[in-house]
Symmetry: C2
Subunit: 199 residues, 2 copies
């Protein structure tokens, strides 16, 4: 009978600590204690503290990827696709807040060789958003002038939710997603000129 490894406990402890205190401010002794062992015991499961951070970032990247990728291929009207993408992203951001925070911010503590692979994961995820916006622009549903800037704008708003959202707060994630989607669709709908003046 294989008894359960404690690796998941270590990852869980590190995720919580890295997200709350930051990678540099977290010691291997902190992690070991939270996982119920002494610091030397960690090294039966990991090679370095930095590997732990990479592994958490990878988990988080997969979580974002799996939330969004299926949606991108769906045959939806662009506004509805955007609305569902906003909801999917915010669900990850609010329901795995520690992992999400590490994917969004704390990966920057990695040293250059490992940063680059993380950067590729991030670019791959952002490419899904580019595709959603591109599709909306091609179909004439999104009239925004600068798609690259619009993508940055959209993801800025959404990612920041990770910093302020609290599960016991005034708004649930569905409410935030609905309002944010509505607002972002106003941005993407393009200039509204009720008087039909030429611009």
């Amino acid at each position: 009978m294989p008894r359960p490894s404690n690796k998941p406990r270590i990852l869980e402890a590190a995720t919580d600590l890295f997200s709350r205190k930051g990678f540099r401010a977290t010691t291997v002794r902190d992690i070991a204690e939270a996982a119920g062992m002494v610091s030397a015991g960690l090294y039966a499961h990991i090679a370095t503290k930095e590997d732990l951070l990479v592994e958490i970032v990878r988990e988080a990247a997969e979580e974002f990827e799996q939330a969004l990728a299926p949606l991108v291929a769906l045959p939806l009207e662009p506004p509805e696709k955007l609305r569902q993408a906003v909801r999917a992203h915010l669900e990850v951001v609010t329901q795995s807040p520690a992992r999400a925070r590490i994917f969004l911010d704390e990966w920057q503590a990695l040293s250059p060789p490992r940063r680059e692979s993380v950067q590729r994961w991030r670019e791959r995820y952002e490419a899904h958003w580019a595709a959603i916006l591109q599709e909306g622009a091609e179909q004439g549903a999104f009239l925004v002038e600068d798609l690259a800037l619009a993508r940055v704008f959209v993801l800025s708003c959404l990612n920041a939710v990770n910093r302020w959202y609290r599960p016991d707060g005034r708004l649930g994630v569905e409410e935030v997603a609905d309002r944010y989607a509505t607002w972002l669709l106003r941005v993407l709908a393009g200039p509204v000129d009720k008087t039909n003046h030429p611009r």
Copy 2:
């Protein structure tokens, strides 16, 4: 004749290092070297490394405050006031990027007693934005349903510019400010219902 103190050099070095590497990853030896002295020499000017961070956050808070406060009292139409506020905020964010980053993020490395005064500076600044939005709502120019959420939304987008803006990039800060202001005004203009269907 009072010769010029090296305190400004220390602050400048610490601002650069804290913003690039983070507070925890920056050593007092790093700062001293960048300021042209040995680490013990720092302590002729400061009491602790943390004091240095507090001082930088205070400088940054003042810079944001001085950019926005005069504007808030001006007799401008709400959309124009918002546009000018966006520009003022983004100018600080892009022209003092290191200081701004410390005001926006790195202050969280402070331990609880000092964090609280920083939090008050931040709340004071955010109150100006609340006032701008409130005024627009009262005058009927901004029709957004949830002013508190709108303020978070607006500041999220604007603050994130600090993370991606590069002086040698495709867009200058004026262009980013103009487009962002346009987009945010679409959000704040409220629902546009060209067909006059009831909602």
